[in-house]
């Protein structure tokens, strides 16, 4: 179920590359763990962010979750739809509910991230831990 056209982080973000620009969102596993999303705070366009650095916040009824950048670069666009419809993150986390587009300083940086198969194995391991 995890699209193979993108890469994944251990913090449950995804990044899909189009030339030197990457679209970033959170995974279906992440939205499910969060529950009903009610608020999203995103960075300003032009903000410089480093790989592993928090660039925003996604809040559910219950929890506040920081979102970490998979790569280093500059924010090119943010998803304005999420301001009024944060629940889209629960409905379409891999599609319409992308968070930001980022101009990568070094596009080959994504190669160090997990592919879909590796991510799926990673979360299967996590799920095993919590459903003993």
């Amino acid at each position: 179920m995890y699209p193979t056209d993108r890469r994944y982080t251990k913090e449950h973000e995804w990044i899909k590359l189009d030339g030197a620009t990457g679209t970033v969102g959170i995974t279906d596993y992440a939205q499910h763990e969060l529950g009903d999303v009610v608020f999203v705070e995103l960075p300003k366009i032009g903000a410089k962010i480093a790989a592993g650095q928090s660039f925003g916040t996604v809040e559910s009824v219950k929890a506040v979750s920081e979102i970490y950048s998979p790569v280093t670069g500059e924010v090119a666009e943010t998803n304005a739809v999420l301001g009024n419809e944060p629940e889209k993150i629960n409905q379409d986390p891999h599609g319409a509910a992308w968070l930001i587009k980022i101009k990568l300083a070094n596009p080959s940086e994504v190669n160090s991230l997990m592919d879909a198969a590796a991510y799926q194995a990673y979360i299967a391991e996590k799920q095993k831990e919590t459903s003993a």
Partner: protein, 368 residues
Amino acid sequence: MTTPATSELRKTALNATHRRLGAKMVDFGGWDMPVEYTGIMAEHRAVRTAAGLFDVSHMGEIVVHGPGALELMQKVTCNNVQKLAVGQAQYSGLMTEKGTFVDDLLVHKMSDTHYYLCVNASNQDKDFAHIVQHNTTGAQVENAGEYYTQIALQGPKSAAILQRFTPVPLASIKYYHFTHGLVSGEECLIARSGYTGEDGFELYFAPEHSEKMWFALLAGGEPDGLISCGLGARNTLRLEAGMCLYGHEIDDDTTVWEANLGWICKMDKGEFLGRAALARQKEEGVKRTLVGFEMTDKLIARDGYPVLQNGEKVGQVTSGSPAPFLSKNIGMAYVPPALSAVGTQIHIGIRSHQAAARIVPLPFYKRP
């Protein structure tokens, strides 16, 4: 995420049922409990408009009985147990000598010499030790949590649903009263009480009947919109209803006067633990007071965030969350009395923001 191995957590008799039904489970104060089934929003709204079913078996039960029972209860709690009729329940506080909360609890009067206490899960052992330590009246005190499953059926449809399962005429049980009777063929203590701000019932019964009871009620209430609910919705429901949660609004550092719980503290009932300290504070006045607020910015206040005035911390949020039924972001906080009037503008420190909020009357929600 830091979910410890589940074997370290305590489990209710319904643990396997929750897992089979696909509930999301979390470590809740050392208990492996369902935080949500279909989602906090949907569960919260179901309880406001129809009904919800909660497993609250993690709550503790303590039995105090024998000839010295009333005297001991009067000594360790701040409400007036003498005023209770048999079959009546009372919200109260278990007091330290400082007049602060060991716990908050429900006291059920079974007979003149028998009281059944429902206490918070994580405080159960501490409460039991505290009552035993102050037992100078010869009462019998028993830590009875393991002997009971507790299910809460809450919401405007709960009486209609429960009536199909019991010969007890539920209309005869007033709010904060209880009786004994059969539910789905099993002997239960049926209390009309809850922690949601809605009409509802709390059923206490032997754990071996747990799963059968759960599925019977769920199936019977389904046509009315009854759904399984987790502790996530329980928390947002109690917050909308302006009810205190131990460890948040009240703890062993807060008093009834600070928490606006003066109505459960009966200074004229005679001597009790903490009475002298409470009399002193009442005379001197409090330095902080619990208020309700709603955000006027879009941001969401959370437990522990600072209340700011001119950039300085002057108080602290005790509970903060979106309010699913009211569709706004609300919270409770301790603030200096000077900032406690309804309508007062305050700010909450949320990450790098100073977010605007306004003091509003409690409760946020009152059932129609």
